[in-house]
Amino acid sequence: MSGETVKLISAEGFEFVIDKKAACVSKTIHNMLTSPGSFAEREHGEVTFPEISTTILEKICQYFHWSLQYASHRCAYLCKLHLSVPSGKETEFHIEPELTLELMMAANYLHT
């Protein structure tokens, strides 16, 4: 089990334990965890982000899971149901306006 989860640590030292599969939604994290050589990140499954605050990192983790649940199936799903496309309200990923700027910078860094 421990091999399937990774720990992401925010600037304030708060830890988020998430499935490796979810974390790999981010190309940057995926590269950190799979690059050859024995990097500390790969050995312990821990990645520290000194420049990402806790609120933003939590939002990012929520996004990873949302992405796993909806985004990957979205194309197939929409093609199948193209006449009755859902309103999207229940599947929408909510972002607080005050977080947008920081979230965009983090998303850019993480390639998500």
Partner: protein, 119 residues
């Protein structure tokens, strides 16, 4: 997996993927592999309503939805148990000491009888 919940304790958040039909006990079993604490020592509390979750019921039964925040608390080592251990330990120490004193006393007695016999 249809949903996830956020289990929080101190500075750590665990994102657990689960189904609405999962029993709370199954969630605790997942946590056990992550934090090395037995299922019986865990208590999950749904936030922000602060409702303690029942092991035998499912998540859906107890209004635990996708993205819900659940607080994790752990049972303290019973103070009574600590006292019991301490008492047992000191009892053992005392018994060891008594044994040591007995041996010493016996050797002194033997020595004296030897000295007396010499005369």
């Amino acid at each position: 997996m249809a949903m996830y919940i956020r289990v929080k304790r101190n500075k750590t958040t665990y994102f657990l993927q689960c189904d609405p039909t999962d029993k709370v006990l199954q969630i605790k079993e997942k946590l056990q592999t992550l934090i090395d604490q037995p299922v019986t020592d865990q208590r999950l509390i749904l936030m922000p309503v602060e409702k303690v979750l029942d092991d035998s019921k499912t998540l859906a039964d107890q209004q635990v939805e996708n993205d819900a925040v659940v607080a994790l608390t752990l049972r303290k080592v019973s103070e009574l148990l600590l006292i019991k251990e301490f008492v047992e330990f000191s009892l053992e120490e005392t018994l060891d000491e008594i044994e040591f004193l007995t041996i010493e006393a016996a050797s002194i007695v033997n020595f004296e009888s030897f000295v007396i016999a010499d005369f």
